[in-house]
């Protein structure tokens, strides 16, 4: 299995979490602040769903609640570049590393939520500089 690389250092990361989320609705920014303070998985879930919505092509916007069964490519219209954009965004936001092999296994919104939860679980968190 590929060894996880360390996250980008703050100085090398292109944008801070505050900057990354500045165009997001206030409740999403609050959820992220709560997650940073208490690390409740459901707060991370809400942020992840907002990030999916933010990267989703407008032409495929459907159910705004984004059920877990929605497939990123087939149902939501993501292309591989939008998935890459989203992966970078999540890496920078949560200070995690996501490999190409890992993301290729993520097909649905539910897969992504579970995957990010796993990445953020105690013991899995990469230390941030």
């Amino acid at each position: 299995m590929e060894q996880p690389r360390p996250p980008l250092t703050t100085s090398a990361a292109p944008m801070s979490a505050r900057t990354l989320l500045e165009h997001f609705p206030e409740p999403v920014q609050q959820a992220f602040s709560r997650f940073q303070a208490a690390r409740a998985p459901e707060d991370a879930d809400n942020v992840v769903v907002a990030v999916v919505i933010d990267h989703m092509p407008r032409t495929h916007r459907g159910d705004p609640t984004l059920p877990d069964a929605n497939r990123l490519i087939e149902d939501l219209g993501f292309d591989s570049i939008a998935i890459t954009e989203m992966v970078f965004f999540l890496e920078d936001l949560f200070h995690v590393r996501i490999t190409n092999e890992e993301i290729l296994r993520v097909r649905t919104v539910g897969d992504l939520r579970a995957f990010i939860r796993e990445k953020l679980a105690p013991g899995s968190i990469s230390p941030s500089a």
Binding site: L8, S11, A12, P14, D54, P57, R58, I81, E85, F88
Partner: protein, 423 residues
Amino acid sequence: MSRRAVVTGLGFITSIGNDRPTVTAALRELRSGIERVEYLNNPTLPIKVAGTVKGFVVESASWRDWKYPSQYDFPREALRSLSPHGLYALCATEQALADAGLGRDDLTDGNTGLYCASAGSVFMIHHQINQLHLSRGERGNPMGVVSSIAGTLNFNLAARYGIRGAVSGFVAACASSSHALGCALDDIRLGRQTRMMVVGAEDLNAESVLGFAAMRALSTNPDPALASRPFDEDRNGFIVSGGATCLILEEAETARQRGAKVYAELAGWGQASDGYNVAISHPEGIGLSDAMRRCLADANLTPKDIDYISAHATSTLAGDRSEAIALRSTFTNVGARPLVSSTKGLTGHPLSMAGVMEAAFCAVALREGFVPGNVNLVTPDPACDGLDLPRASVDSKPNVVLNNTSGFGGSNVCHILRRWESV
């Protein structure tokens, strides 16, 4: 040539207006688009003015921060791969298609092509490369390449509008969009395409401007009302501009059958190079003279048939003089005396976009029946002796106009547009 080509749609994001009526009024009434600017928060820079693009906020390299006029509504999947000039181009193209009465479904059968011209976005490249260096190669914008390199316009517009005909980009500095327009005419004449979208666009930011200051090519005159003064004895360099122009060119019979409004016929084009210097025009304008002669021959016209010349003159010492000499040798010396003006006194110089923008201005002038004047021209350079350079716009009805463009490396491209009475 049995197949003729006509201009049926125009779209503008320019320093003098973001729609055709505003641009037309500015050309007729000589309303300048040049304003004071400050780049890199450095008030000591000698470059004080530019032909600014109004109504857009594109200082950030992230499309999420951009603001643009509210009549346009683009989804993230369109915005994510754009540079600032790509956004301008999308707006101009939406205008031109609406003006021509065309929808996306009219463009996707392979009979419509798309030729574009821009220098790419040095601004976006700078941010992309800076991010790569900061992250030691571990992070880049997935859209960094397609939003920035020369070709970004054709990548984005072809995908957005589903173009399946000829698609390409042209890179010849300030002559680029004139090459695009000339090759578009050839494709229609040769029967390869029935419709061509021709788009020129450029960013306007420190990265697009200050490289020319390093060449000492820009005016250091701080007065927006006087800095760009083509053909004037007191000119001291050009003023950079940006924006986008889209011109829809159609085979004339196709345009007639669908009842399209016609601005003008694109009757011919010609090109020739100086073979002289990487950045300076030939002092006698030999390449431009040859390009004008070839253009006249292509349109089967003589110098005396030309009523108006839209000059390339950018307000540089060498370039304007070279063009004036070329105009005298081609026209004055054979007894022809067309009106001559450069609209860059109003707009500044939008680099790759100049050729198609000024061809579009010519189409407007032919349809509306006027000739734009030479704003800011007070004392013509003696090299202009014998040229008819009206200061104010002229309410004449030109029938045939010539549009000149020149670029780095000595590329010279000319077009002739002709009044179209009926289709």
